[in-house]
């Protein structure tokens, strides 16, 4: 290492000397060497994120309790989910399962068993909507073969701490794997093809790693949409209409996209015809697009191999491509602060799609570029710009970083904490949020006043909790209390304790 630095320094001195000594000569050759190391990559979303020196890379796992439920061919996975407690591992044996599985519990591991290459198959038969829906915190879904669903293969709705790995998702619906509105997750080692929108779609989420996936013959390979702190690394993305996308969709409730690292991917020959559903946003993607960055900020594209994409290698753009979406004044359209670090790009733009050809015609070109910025951002940067054919990067400067390697993962060092336990007086929320619908402190509403309940039960909150769970009618002139068994014992007791302490 030291030797390398010395030799660099020698070249630098040599170069400087040559330059100083030959200043009358025209067109000198200058080898520029940075006077000092470049800064470490800084990410605005990086504060809470794993760093290279702390916890092991991607330590996220779903907690288990030791409970294991076995599902055999011919049985129902959903029945197993219904029987499972948080922490259960549901093992699904090879076979064909024709169902939609929904997981509304925390910490469930849904794990296929692969024997002699035979997967458990989730078969949608073209009539079922989604294969797997989850909303719980802490969900692992692994080792499934998912096919022929109308909607999505795996869809998450506001589940945090998710792991979706080692699945094969083929010829199924709109999105292959779609965690939405979740925080802290890993999508890795999945194989997806034949998806009519995005094969892997990270929608309105934070802190997600999409790594080591093989994605092909879909309209969009990997899509990061209205999300922050996402790492897309070491994926093999080929023969899609568009390879890797990072963008803002206007009109969604979470308006920003940013801090996305796209690193060490193979983005190859993404020239598939666009077979998206008419009206969808990806229907606008020109075939032959390696990467598309639309309105997403602070995207770093580093050390990818991007070759054979017939329209363009990388395109930075605003909403001008998405002509079929109403304007949203709250969505900022520019792809601010793009960074391009050391990518390998060859053979891109050989046969541009018509919309790209029209754009090129205005530039008096026929071949698509490696990199184009249709906005002409003035806050972008690029290293080794001389290697690429570019349009619109005139205002890009040299980047002050070489690499984002100091951010090995955007997943969190500690999982998102369980819901509902932090600094919350559950008794108070339950009393005012539920009980108060019928019980006021000193006046009669639908049920007896809280003051009366206090007098009747005094120091016996457990008595209140037990009664509320299974009330019996005691008062002719009051309606019967509906059972509150929807609240668990702990919550009822907390509410009862709060009720007994109330002063007004």
């Amino acid at each position: 290492m030291r030797k390398l630095i010395l030799s660099f320094a020698a070249i630098a001195l040599l170069a400087a000397g040559y330059y100083l000594g030959s200043n009358r000569q025209a067109e000198p050759t200058v080898i520029r060497v940075p006077a000092q190391p470049k800064a470490e990559f800084a990410s605005s979303g990086g504060a809470e994120v794993t760093t290279a020196t702390s916890a092991p890379l991607r330590s996220l796992t779903t907690p288990t309790s030791g409970e294991v439920i076995l599902v055999r061919d011919g049985e129902s996975i959903q029945d197993a989910v219904a029987a499972a407690s948080p922490g259960a591992v549901i093992k699904v044996m090879p076979g064909t399962y024709k169902e939609t599985v929904y997981i509304d519990k925390d910490n469930i591991t849904l794990s296929g068993v692969i024997e002699q290459g035979k997967y458990p198959v989730l078969e949608g038969e073209g009539v079922r909507n989604d294969a797997i829906l989850y909303s719980g915190n802490g969900t692992t879904i692994e080792n499934f073969y998912i096919t022929h669903y109308k909607g999505n293969g795996v869809m998450g709705q506001a589940g945090n701490n998710f792991v979706i790995r080692n699945n094969v998702v083929v010829d199924t619906g709109v999105y292959g794997i779609f965690p939405q509105l979740g925080k802290n997750g890993i999508v890795s080692h999945n194989i997806l093809s034949g998806i009519e929108d995005a094969a892997i779609y990270i929608g309105m989420s934070d802190n997600v790693d999409v790594v080591f996936n093989q994605v092909f013959e879909s309209v969009a390979g990997i899509e990061i949409e209205n999300s922050r702190t996402a790492l897309v690394e070491a994926n093999y993305v080929y023969n899609n209409t568009g390879g890797i996308l990072a963008f803002v969709t206007p009109g969604l409730p979470i308006k920003t996209c940013g801090d996305v690292i796209i690193r060490n991917n193979f983005v190859i020959d993404n020239n598939h015809e666009n077979f998206a559903i008419p009206g969808s946003i990806v229907a606008n993607i020109p075939p032959g697009t390696g990467m598309l960055i639309m309105a997403c900020d602070d995207v770093v594209i580093e050390r990818n191999i991007i070759t054979g994409n017939d329209s363009v290698g990388i395109i930075f753009t605003d909403f001008s491509l998405a002509t079929n979406i109403p304007n949203d004044p709250e969505s900022e359209p520019n792809p601010n602060r793009p960074k391009l670090l050391d990518n390998i790009m060859r053979d891109n733009g050989n046969s541009p799609a018509p919309v790209v050809r029209a754009f090129l015609a205005a530039q008096l070109e026929t071949r698509g570029p490696d990199i184009v910025d249709t906005v002409g951002m003035d806050d972008g940067c690029i290293n080794h710009r001389e290697r690429y054919r570019t349009f619109g990067l005139d205002k890009y400067t040299e980047c002050d970083i070489d690499t984002t390697a100091n951010v090995p993962s955007y997943t969190l060092a500690e999982p998102v904490p369980p819901r509902g336990l932090e600094n919350v007086d559950i008794g108070k929320l339950t009393y005012y949020g539920v009980c108060a619908g019928c019980h006021a402190y000193g006046t009669r509403m639908i049920g007896p006043p809280t003051q009366v309940i206090q007098a009747l039960y005094m120091d016996d909150p457990a008595g209140i909790a037990a009664y509320a769970a299974k009330p019996v009618k005691k008062r002719d002139d009051y309606p019967e209390m509906p059972p509150q068994g929807h609240l668990d014992e702990e919550t009822l007791l907390a509410a009862a304790e709060f009720l007994l302490k109330l002063k007004n």
Partner: protein, 400 residues
């Protein structure tokens, strides 16, 4: 309405009001769902134990609420309740807020398009007021940014309550009971310009009180909510099936009608048909002037939606079943010829089965919750009788 009639009415009101003065006391306790903290009512809900991504208040089952308004005093809320039900707010004393926002109809009015002061049809349907505390934008076309801004529309639109700011102020100031109630709700320490019992009522106080009452209408305790909080027996098998269709990426309902409010509060162009013979309502295009938003309307919350038929901005669909079937009809199928609308990308042809549409309706019924229904005043400070019951019938004489 002639000045003479108005004068007659005011005289009558004064007489009535005198006899009522002093008989009204405003509640000192908060409505259900609120905790009294330092004299102000603060919202309390089980949803407050959850976070939401980027604090946006959109997500899945255990997701925190969108930002809300609270902090009014019990007295302001209770005063708002009287005002809300009092037809004295309209020019001729025939319409109250509750005429179009009837408690027993989900705070809507059951009409395809609401009826104004003289029974004439208005442009759009009355939206439900449940959970308006969580809304950032008001009216179907989202043209108002606050309840206070919104209420100026119906109060002063000559086709609706047809009042004027000055006439409203004069009327209220002429009613002793209201003078006394406003003094209770806005004591000197709250409004420094108020001078106690004899101080005149300000319009801003009227708007504040109405907003205070409206934001107290909270509905977050449906059987769906019990399921969301973890009690999975709260929903029937049919309702769970419907919930899974609702949140599936085939029906995609939950993409815009996002829990927990069941609205993402965005503008969406979905291309629903107008009632026969009416031209396309340009929706959000009118206030924004943005042609790309033509036909765009605010995504409404679906809480208590089963109580608020008919559906869509102009009430084209008589039932929930018809409303959900619209989304199964194909992208843009009801857009008038010649119109080029930027139909929302989630509107497609999901090819849902008939039984799936039935299950969707089942699920939507599980969003009903009227547990925090406020009490309708039996007497009003103006002395007028409450009139909110069934204007559809009342207005029968005006030309139906």
């Amino acid at each position: 309405m002639s000045a003479f009639l108005r004068g007659l009415l005011c005289a009558a009101l004064l007489l009535c009001a005198r006899s009522w003065a002093g008989e009204f006391t405003l509640a000192a306790h908060c409505p259900p769902g609120f905790e009294l903290v330092d004299g102000h009512c603060e919202l309390r809900s089980l949803y407050q134990q959850y976070a939401s991504l980027q604090s946006a208040g959109v997500g899945g089952l255990k997701t925190g609420l969108p930002a809300w308004r609270d902090g009014f005093t019990p007295q302001q809320i209770d005063l708002g309740r009287y005002l809300f039900f009092d037809p004295v707010l309209s020019a001729d004393g025939s319409l109250s807020c509750a005429s179009c926002h009837q408690p027993e109809r989900g705070f809507a009015d059951g009409l395809p398009r609401s009826r104004g002061m003289h029974g004439e049809l208005l442009a759009r349907s009355a939206p439900s007021l449940w959970n308006v505390a969580f809304l950032q934008r008001f009216f179907w076309d989202a043209r108002a940014a606050s309840l206070e801004e919104q209420m100026l529309g119906p109060l002063y639109d000559e086709r609706e309550m047809a009042n004027t700011p000055q006439a409203l102020l004069d009327t209220l100031n002429g009613i002793d009971a209201y003078r006394s109630l406003f003094a209770q709700a806005f004591p000197a320490e709250i409004s420094p310009d108020s001078g106690g019992e004899d101080a005149p009522i300000h319009l801003q106080q009227v708007y504040t009180a109405l907003a205070a009452f409206e934001t107290s209408l909270i509905s977050l305790n449906s059987r769906y909510d019990q399921y969301a909080h973890g009690y999975h027996d709260a929903l029937s098998a049919a309702e769970i099936e419907g919930m899974n269709v609702f949140r599936s990426f085939v029906a995609r309902c939950a993409e815009c009608h996002t829990p927990p409010l069941f609205s993402n509060q965005q503008i969406a162009v979905i291309g629903t048909p107008e009632p026969a013979g009416l031209p396309l309502d340009p929706g959000a295009q009118t206030p924004t002037g943005d042609a790309s938003q033509r036909g765009g309307f605010k995504v409404p919350s679906l809480r208590n939606v089963a109580l608020t038929a008919p559906y869509m901005h102009s009430g084209r669909f008589a039932s929930l079943r018809e409303a959900v079937a619209f989304y199964n009809g194909g992208r843009g199928h009801a857009v008038p010829p010649g119109e080029q609308l930027n139909i929302h990308w989630h509107i497609w042809n999901p090819q849902l089965g008939e039984h799936e549409l039935d299950r969707l309706v089942d699920f939507l019924g599980a969003l009903n919750d009227e547990g925090f229904m406020p009490q309708v005043p039996t007497r009003l400070p103006s002395g007028l009788p409450p009139v909110h019951n069934d204007p559809a019938v009342d207005s029968g004489s005006t030309g139906e």
